[in-house]
Symmetry: C2
Subunit: 208 residues, 2 copies
DNA sequence: CATTAAGTGTCTATTTGATAGACACTTTAG
DNA sequence: CTAAAGTGTCTATCAAATAGACACTTAATG
């Protein structure tokens, strides 16, 4: 059993970050499938040997890139808000902002969803992650408490959100983050009454 | 006299490139003057000691960044074209393309001209470099060989070019490189008859 | 103001991440 | 079918990066 080093040194993280960055650039430039390990180390200015110290192959790097970014998105989703705090759609501003701002900060990566021959899995896993966030961290209430299948409702809204994001990205982030959030809120107001955050472990009870 | 190491190892270049990249990011984020060395090494994930192995201070890094990019622009200007080759404005496509494509490839850097508290000198040295390129590498002919002061004419066209670039950048590269070049050519056609490239050392004589 | 905190510039000993380069294959173009 | 390019693995070696301390110099802030 090989010794799996769990904690990475800052330098290891740095090198891996550079390799990931190089991969993103190259995918945009020539498509995922024609990117070689040589290309990657060439772009990132490392020795080919170094690549294999960190990753088995291109696929592993791609997976690491995708999972780490989506992990980051999940983490960004549920942070500075009180568990169980109820938020009305008119106040949806701040919570959505975490997601949006994460995507915007890492737009270099998320632009990959506009490419054809791109990071494997990104077109399925990105929207799935949004759905997961909706499922695990939010409790929605429909307008007038109209009874619906909540699983379906969340899927519906999550993918709707994804569609807007997709459009925002492919427009080259034409709207500012704030403008974009306002759009989302306007749309939400048509069918969502309130949103509750789910705390770690306990489902928040309603306040007010 | 200290031993000035003239040739840098690939790793040194890589590290310096990362530090430069970090500086660009930070200028956009918080403005040049409030960027500290700590910020830079934090962003680039290096140790502060490492910074001082490569640069004396923030100013030196900034200077290196600016001069290296403008040097690259100059180099990009005069490469794959035969010295003395005459090019009519209708064919201006390819030559301009080198400049444009260099700027576009390094747009991350050139976007800095849109910032207020930005890289010192960029607002003066960037247009000056364009002018220098015009002066050293091109010979213009006016429409119908109308006699003009060529120094003034070059300055005029160089800064006109700069203005277009500025606008292109601040629009977020709305036009493609090709579309943008077409614009330039259209404008050039109004007062430039032909362009000749100046070879290294010898002024090319006309062909055809 | 005065005091604290943050940032600067410089130096060492140490380490560990990165490198060169070779080997045996495999895959891709022409 | 062959040549060229790419892959994956291993080793000895090097030098880039690190930690951490030191004396100072600005910025903040109560």
């Amino acid at each position: 059993m090989k010794n799996e080093q769990k904690t990475k040194s800052p330098q290891q993280n740095r090198t891996e970050a550079h390799l990931k960055f190089a991969l993103i650039e190259l995918i945009k430039e020539k498509g995922y499938h024609s990117v070689t390990v040589k290309d990657i180390v060439g772009q990132a200015a490392y020795n080919r040997s170094t690549f294999y110290i960190h990753y088995q192959d291109k696929i592993q790097l791609a997976e690491d890139l995708l999972t780490s970014m989506l992990k980051g998105l999940e983490d960004a989703a549920g942070e500075p808000y009180m568990p169980g705090q109820k938020v009305y759609t008119t106040m949806l501003n701040k919570p959505s902002f975490n997601l949006i701002s994460y995507i915007y900060r890492h737009r270099h990566f998320f632009e990959l969803i506009n490419y054809d021959d791109t990071l494997p899995g990104i077109h399925t896993q990105f929207p799935q992650t949004i759905l997961k966030i909706y499922q695990e961290k939010f409790i929605f209430e429909t307008i007038n408490h109209i009874p619906v299948n909540m699983d379906y409702f969340k899927r519906y809204t999550a993918y709707g959100f994804y569609g807007l994001i997709q459009n925002w990205i492919s427009s080259g982030f034409k709207e500012t983050q704030e403008e974009f959030i306002d759009q989302i809120i306007d749309l939400s107001k048509t069918h969502i009454y309130s949103v509750q955050y789910v705390g770690d472990g306990e489902t928040g009870s309603l306040s007010r």
